[in-house]
Amino acid sequence: MDRRELLKMVALATGGIVIGGEFFLAGCKNENAGIGGATFSNNDIAFLDEVAETIIPKTTTAGAKEAEVGKFMTVMVNDCYDEADQKTFHEGIKKLDEACNKMHGHGFMKADAAHRKELLTSLDKEAKEYVKTKKKEDPNHYFQMMKQLTLIGYFTSKPGIEQNFNYQAVPGKFDGAVPYKKGDKLFV
């Protein structure tokens, strides 16, 4: 699928714009580009891998962990997010763990798959509600970021694309009306 299509899809699936996106305001220089700033530990990456795996788990096809989505998230936050979003994301790792404590009485890494899913379902709802009423100057929601980066990271990864879709680097032709039935792999 093309890039615009993916970003549109990700934006809609997470209830808003794609965070860290391009700047459309003419004459407005990007002065808050977050070059440098806090870095991520290996523990952070392992934690984010588990969050991503809960959003997109291994089934008959690879999950987000196998697609190295945790590491991808840290690269994107470091290289593409502005400073405010970087801060929100870093704090979000702690906030997610605290939310797990509150819901299940222990941290996220100790939670089983069912508890993790229950937590993230509730955070997803919380983030979508937040986005609906958020003012422009309010910070973004950390879980919206994590879900967006998971979907972008997974659905642009090698296993994410090759195992779920009919991907061909060189299609060689265009057909605008291919018969489709449920279970067919979608061409991307």
């Binding site: 699936a13 990007n30 580009a33 809960t54 290289d79 879709f165 057909d175 009306a177 061409f187």
Partner: protein, 559 residues
């Protein structure tokens, strides 16, 4: 020194029109030097990202903060991780914005012909007569009949795919087989034909992608990665098409890193003597001499060189006794239209990444019946339908994954491209205070949308929604982004307009400076009005026509 640096012809710039000038002049036997301000980009060899899969781009084609900072203007256009090396670094190439203006540029061999949108539409007499009829700007010195054979000539070489439709306002060309519309586009196109009595038509885009092998190039492989450069030569660029033919004649010298400073004037002969350049890397100033000079440095680049070519005879820039040089800067206004989703065709998907969409030819102000009272001129549409993944999900985990890997609804997007009227005060000047790192004056751009464009946008938006509705599209949304400033469409035109009268125009009907007959300009600067069609194929045709004229004048001893 003079002998070594003397050629029959000089072409300044190697983009879409410079490539054509070089090829035509070389084919006609002229020893030609092309002076390109940026680096060499060799076809295929210098397309580093062309074969990368989505996962091989570290940021999956998102712009990094470094790109957003270094290329803070370019990222508002089409610059992304995979093609950012073809867009300028805004910090190295500053200009002054009196009003917000997005100047999107590629400084390298091939220029923006590598990243262009490739849409090719002929203009008609509706466009060439527009200024004369409503009094905005000056009359074009040519009509459709003057350029029609040259459209055919360039189409036959470049390879433009498209369908013949018999629309007088969008003349048919010498096309390669058209690409096909997808299932929803066919449905919407048919509905529009049935439901509107004003003759509006949705057709497949006419695009410089090769639907069959052509002149040793292509065919297009439907990867839709054109802006990275194509290893299959599947679309037209200077690098894939015109420059290789120019080189094959043995008459071409290509000099990268050569920033055009000024054209040197010979007061005795009342002709240009040559071009003075500064080497981008060494800062060495060098002169090249020739009998014919083609200025193809892009609209603003060419006009900047002319403005900087000052002499006793031309204190305000070469060929500028009319004071028209730099004025009437135009672009197309866009980022306005509508979209929505479709409930049907659940049993159909698409295969291949078609690097093209649909086109809706202009249908306003084309005759008495379609005349509007609220604005002059008109607009067209580009866009298309697609069916991608299923995004609309509140699920989590395996349910989310399963839903997202299934196809979602079909969606349709229609964006409009509108004509901008020429205005004397939409202009470019040389800054009196700001210089670039080579000591050349920066350009100062002062341009804005005016009443006619703003009035037109309402109709552009509403008509898009109306056509989608007629096609059965649901949940229609509309958009009209007034922050899409001039320049962003990358169709900048005007500033050295053609015209019959030297008192009110810069170039004559052969694209010669009225006042300096051996200087030709055939890029966007020469345009007298902007029409609403993508302009590149018109630059190609005007270039081939002017080159033919220049060589015949040279042979007659007139140049």
């Amino acid at each position: 020194m003079a002998n070594n640096n003397t050629y029959d012809a000089i072409v300044v710039g190697s983009g879409i029109s410079g490539g054509w000038a070089a090829m035509e002049l070389c084919k006609k036997g002229l020893k030609t030097i092309v002076l390109e301000r940026g680096r060499q980009v060799e076809h295929i060899k210098d397309y580093p990202t062309t074969n990368l899969a989505p996962w091989e781009l570290l940021h999956r084609n998102r712009n990094t903060n470094k790109i957003k900072d270094d290329q803070h203007i370019q990222v508002r256009g089409f610059c992304n991780e995979a093609n950012s090396h073809f867009f300028v670094n805004d910090k190295e190439h500053p200009y002054v914005q009196k009003k917000p203006y997005d100047w999107i540029r590629g400084y390298h061999v091939g220029g923006r012909s590598l990243m262009w949108g490739r849409q090719c539409y002929r203009w008609s007499d509706l466009d060439f007569e527009a200024n004369a009829k409503d009094g905005h700007g000056v009359d074009w010195p040519i009509r459709y009949k003057d350029i029609a054979p040259w459209y055919s000539y360039v189409e036959r070489f470049a390879g433009i795919s498209g369908s013949k439709e018999g629309l007088p306002q969008l003349p048919d060309g010498d096309f390669l087989p058209p690409m096909e519309m997808n299932a929803l586009e066919q449905h919407v196109s048919e509905s529009i034909k049935q439901k509107f009595s004003d003759g509006r038509r949705m057709i497949i885009g006419r695009v410089a992608n090769l639907t069959k092998g052509w002149n040793g190039r292509g065919p297009c492989q439907y990867r839709n990665l054109c802006d990275r450069g194509c290893p299959f030569s599947g679309y037209f660029s200077s690098n894939s098409a015109t420059l290789p033919v120019a080189a094959s004649t043995g008459n071409l010298t290509l000099r990268p890193h050569s920033i055009g400073m000024e054209i040197i004037y010979d007061k005795e002969k009342r002709m240009a003597k040559g071009v003075r350049i500064i080497d981008e890397l060494s800062n060495e100033v060098i002169e090249y001499y020739a009998k014919i000079i083609f200025l193809n440095a892009s609209t603003l680049g060419s006009t900047g060189i002319l403005l900087n070519s000052k002499s006793d005879v031309f204190p305000n820039g070469m060929g500028n006794s009319s004071d028209q040089l730099g004025r009437n800067l135009m672009d197309h206004h866009y980022h306005v239209g509508a979209g929505g989703r479709y409930d049907g065709l659940k049993d159909k998907v698409t295969f291949g990444r078609r690097p093209n969409g649909i086109y809706v030819a202009r249908f306003r102000n084309i005759d008495e019946k379609t005349k509007r009272s609220d604005y002059l001129r008109g607009f067209g549409y580009q866009g298309g339908a697609s069916r991608g993944m299923n995004w609309n999900s509140d699920e989590m985990g395996s349910e989310l994954k399963e839903q997202m890997t299934e196809p979602g609804d079909w969606s349709f997007w229609l964006g409009s491209w509108g004509e901008q009227l020429p205005h004397l005060d939409n202009r470019v000047l040389l800054s009196k205070t700001e210089k670039d790192k080579w000591g050349l004056p920066q350009l100062e751009i002062d341009c804005e949308w005016k009443e006619n464009e703003i009035a037109m946008r309402k109709d552009m938006m509403n008509s898009a929604a109306e056509m989608l509705e007629a096609g059965g599209i649901k949940d229609i949304y509309t958009f009209n982004d007034e922050k899409a400033y001039p320049g962003l469409c990358i169709h900048e035109m005007g500033t050295a307009r053609m015209g019959n009268d030297p008192k009110t125009s810069v170039l004559n009907k052969w694209n010669q400076l009225h006042e300096v007959k051996n200087v030709f300009n055939t890029d966007g600067a020469c345009m007298t009005s902007s029409a609403c069609q993508n302009p590149s194929v018109t630059y190609m045709a005007l270039t081939a026509r002017a080159a033919d004229y220049a060589v015949s004048e040279l042979k007659k001893g007139n140049l």
